[in-house]
């Protein structure tokens, strides 16, 4: 009988999520699509709209679970193009930060799939807003054949143990559990996506406070 060390458990977890997730994906996406069709026809009916809203939520959740478990078969399909990642990060910030000020510096153009970049940056921005505090600073730079985008936030320092675990699926820091709802999937999803496009995601302590999230991607 084989022992189940950490690596074995992780492999088993991914296999279970892979199989279960794939079997869920078709019926869930079909329900979501049919609910959207109902909403298009009977959009003024609260019951239909509630059904569509929750079907969309379920559809996103199945995809997020698979991505968080590093199941690359659901990574968006798209051609890699030159993407201005500073502009994309600013756009993500404007979509999700509700007017919180952001200082921006530098430039960075990556060779990557736009839907992947958009989702990665959405997740990184969400994490900074939920777990960090102002001031927020976004910096883009190019280093040889890779580009780097860093989002720094202020706030309380995070322990080394939390920083190490924060990119894993379902991990919630003690502070996060008490002050922010969520499944703890965001950075794990971002990590799967950025890895699929030949990049990396990491976290480190800020210079004086808070955390810096660093995304590296191939240069455009």
């Amino acid at each position: 009988m084989a022992t189940t060390g950490g690596a074995d458990v992780d492999l088993l977890r991914r296999r279970v999520l892979n199989v279960v997730g794939h079997e869920l994906r078709t019926p869930v996406s079909t329900v979501r699509g049919l609910a959207d069709e109902l909403a298009a026809r009977y959009g003024d009916d609260d019951l239909v709209e509630a059904l569509a809203r929750n079907a969309r939520r379920l559809d996103r959740l199945v995809d997020d679970l698979l991505l968080a478990a590093a199941v690359g078969t659901v990574v968006p399909v798209a051609e890699a193009t030159d993407v201005d990642v500073v502009a994309a990060a600013v756009a993500a910030w404007e979509r999700r930060a509700g007017g919180i000020p952001l200082a921006v510096a530098g430039e960075a153009v990556a060779r990557a799939r736009l839907p992947v970049v958009v989702k990665v940056l959405d997740m990184v921005v969400d994490n900074a807003i939920v777990h960090g505090e102002p001031p927020y600073t976004l910096t883009g730079s190019t280093h040889g054949d890779c580009v780097v985008i860093e989002l720094a936030n202020g706030g309380a320092p995070i322990s080394d143990a939390d920083l190490e675990l924060a990119i894993e699926a379902f991990y919630r820091s003690e502070r996060g559990v008490t002050n922010a709802p969520g499944l703890g999937l965001g950075l794990a999803i971002a990590n799967t996506l950025v890895t699929a496009d030949g990049g990396t995601l990491s976290l480190r302590p800020g210079d004086s406070s808070g955390v810096v999230a660093r995304v590296e991607l191939p240069a455009g």
């Binding site: 794939h22 994906r25 869930v28 996406s29 049919l34 069709e37 969309r56 995809d63 659901v74 399909v77």
Partner: protein, 114 residues
């Protein structure tokens, strides 16, 4: 566009028919496997085939070369729930757009109309 819908799941075919018709396309027919798709193309001459890849009897991979031989101008869009590296590379090699099955019709519509 005149579109043939090929998927072994009847509910997926129903959804695609509703989405396509709402977007102004004509659904020329439905097929539940690769052989049915070949027969339906011979009968109705669609502009586009939305082709599930994993199906019983004759799958999408087997159907693609036969469809292309019989209908060189036919546009094929591969439509699948999941796609690993093999599927992505193979569709790229064949020059066939690949769309993942999500409830969101946008990417499929873009692939059909591009």
């Amino acid at each position: 566009m005149r579109v043939l819908v090929v998927d072994d799941e009847p509910d997926v075919r129903l959804l695609l028919r509703l989405q396509l018709e709402r977007a102004g396309h004509e659904v020329t027919g439905e097929a539940g496997d690769g052989q049915e798709a070949i027969d339906a193309c011979a009968e109705a001459a669609p502009d586009v085939v939305i082709l599930d890849l994993l199906m019983p009897r004759m799958n999408g991979f087997e159907a693609i070369p036969r469809l292309r031989t019989a209908h060189p101008d036919l546009r094929i869009v591969a439509y699948t729930a999941v796609a690993g590296d093999f599927v992505r590379n193979e569709m790229q090699r064949l020059g066939i757009p690949l769309v993942l099955k999500t409830g969101n019709f946008g990417p499929l519509q873009a692939a059909i109309e591009s």
